[in-house]
Symmetry: C2
Subunit: 199 residues, 2 copies
Amino acid sequence: MRFSPLLSELIDSLTCLPGVGKKSAQRMAFHLLERNREGALKLSTVLHNAMEHIRHCSQCRTFTEKDLCEICAHPQRSESGVLCIVESPQDVLAVEQTMAFDGTYFVLMGHLSPIDGIGPEEIGLTILESQLKENPVSEVILATNPTVEGEATAHYIAQLCAKYKIKASRIAHGVPVGGELEYIDGNTLTHAFSGRRTL
Amino acid sequence: MRFSPLLSELIDSLTCLPGVGKKSAQRMAFHLLERNREGALKLSTVLHNAMEHIRHCSQCRTFTEKDLCEICAHPQRSESGVLCIVESPQDVLAVEQTMAFDGTYFVLMGHLSPIDGIGPEEIGLTILESQLKENPVSEVILATNPTVEGEATAHYIAQLCAKYKIKASRIAHGVPVGGELEYIDGNTLTHAFSGRRTL
């Protein structure tokens, strides 16, 4: 015996969510059926709308249902002439929450990873190149993750900037504020030493 | 800055799933948008159908989109004359997987819990009583969970059975097969001793 066909289908469909296996999907299905049918119906509608309407911003490639995202559409932001390059829309949010940056972004939606077949084209570097050619910015801040792939991507984009004589900078890597030296890994500490600044 | 309105709404809606907070919902939304729009659209449809069509079986109260669930509709199962009472549809599945029971079920969809306002009516005991009155079974097996509420519920239903002179039995509680005495909690061990059987 299995659950009724429709219930089995619901459980199967819920496993499309990341980190949700058979057991969690079962728990979710029963929770929604027993306690939150209204929420589930709303989720169904929003899910449909989101999948149908959310596209990439034509300028920075982040997710948005409009042609230009809020930041790209903001006149003062594009005037600043500073472009920050990040790997994902979540990174945009993280930078925005610091309130320390008032330029525009370019979201790669990934990083260079030739082994997975992800080249410059896939992470939108052709779009970025044409943007740099047409509207040169005063500085490009490379805020990709400090992983091997992130570093390689930053390096690649730095070369691209050099080609158009645009200043490229990399965000600092070092000891996190509030962190204790004792517990910092060697790699980070090496970065902290090589990136030291004169006081 | 926040995400675009539709994306924020999607993230909010995903938190209606149990065990999914803001961060997990964000991760899910981005995963679906980036990698599995098709799966998300399917989930949206199935979710809608399930919430609209899945109701309770008119006989055993489990979830089904038909009037009678598969087990209640099975002629041989109702002939056996044994009724097993469980707390949830998941429990039905657990018992079914043992292949050791061929009677029918009654699903309480909860347990007696006066403190939360859950009385006999809420867990379908009025329906159960009228069923026992009209179609007396030869035995009622009480398979509620061995928690305080589960025991109280079992006790209440046993009294109901006594009223209609129906044999009521409780599933055995004791040391799980494959378990080691050393690691079993005292409560379970007490049950195992008081429920001992002559060999």
